[in-house]
Amino acid sequence: MHEYPITQRIIEIVGEYAVKNNADEVKVINLVVGDYSGYVASSIELYFELIAQGSACEKAKLNIERIVPKLRCSNCGVLFTRKPYSFECPDCKGEGRPTEIGQEFFIRSIEI
């Protein structure tokens, strides 16, 4: 839903790094998008081509690494992926708590 302005922001940040490294053209953008980041990877891909036109990112390949959210069990400490409607640990049935895993949204690197 908010992927249009955020994709603009990605292209802006990448553009800044390209200039800093004297590159006219960015070849690859490595983006990390957690499934709980609030952004949908496929929507970013959709807008990217459109917004990148005329910028240093015009011909860049967008590599999106998706991160599956993990909960940590408050009882046995194991990291697990939750089943829908449940926070239950698959190992010990303890209660899982949200972690940072799945909330990522950052540009890992670019290739010029």
Binding site: M1, H2, I6, R9, I10, I13, V14, Y17, N21, K27, V28, Y36, G38, P84, Y85, S86, F87, E95, G96, R97, P98, F105, F106, I107, R108, S109, I110, E111, I112
Partner: protein, 216 residues
């Protein structure tokens, strides 16, 4: 063919909104303002709850920034009660963001009080965006179904206080409180969960006590 050169970036993409939000938060703190981002689904009772809360705030000046896509019903209601309130109409955006709040804060000219920012009725997006607040208040209800923490985890995880409204309707709805609380506590160990009714006006004293503790 030359090989690509990889440049490490490791930069979060939220940064512009968060940068502005941090500045707003700093400015509000300096002006003696405690800001609360009030979130909840449309019709959950955000404005009703604010009215009940403001009625009970004695030694503290309340300010309100009202966020809606269109219309200014809530702002007019609050102004009629003597509250300094201004309206933001986004015209389409589903959540308030920090540049919008920055402008509104300048317009209000605040000092020494509590600023309530009533966000757009939406259980999804407001939880994702910092807007300069010191705390997030989630207005949930017994009429939305007890599965909301499971379906909308971020809103419940990010809340500093959770208000469950419309408790007067408990006899008429199937609200599984145990299931609801299990979901809430899995996500959020610390937020107090306070039952209220905008209709009977019960429960709001506890909400006000929490606010006054924070404001000290």
């Amino acid at each position: 063919m030359s090989e690509n050169k990889e440049i490490e970036v490791m930069q979060s993409v939220y940064d512009k909104n968060d940068e502005v939000a941090a500045k707003i938060n700093s400015a509000l703190t300096k002006s003696g303002i405690y800001a609360i981002n009030v979130m909840g689904a449309p019709g959950a009772g955000k404005t009703t709850s604010l009215i009940q809360i403001i009625k009970r705030l004695t030694d503290v000046i309340p300010y309100v920034i009202e966020g809606d896509i269109e219309a200014d019903f809530d702002t007019k209601t609050l102004q009629a009660l003597g509250v300094k309130a201004i309206q933001i109409n986004t015209g389409g955006a589903c959540h308030l963001d920090s540049p919008l709040i920055g402008n509104a804060v300048d317009e209000l000219g605040l000092s020494n009080g509590v600023l309530f920012i009533e966000n757009i009725g939406n259980l999804v997006c407001p939880a994702e965006f910092m807007i300069g607040e010191h705390a997030k208040m989630l207005i949930s209800t017994v009429t939305e179904g007890s599965d909301k923490p499971y379906k909308y985890p971020l809103a419940f995880e990010k809340a500093d206080i959770i208000v469950i409204n419309k408790c007067d309707l408990l006899p008429y709805v199937d609200f599984d409180e145990e299931f609801f609380m299990k979901g809430v506590r899995a996500l959020n160990k610390t937020a107090p969960v306070i039952k209220v009714s905008g209709k009977t006006e019960e429960g709001f004293d506890k909400v006000v006590s929490w606010i006054m503790e924070k404001v000290k």
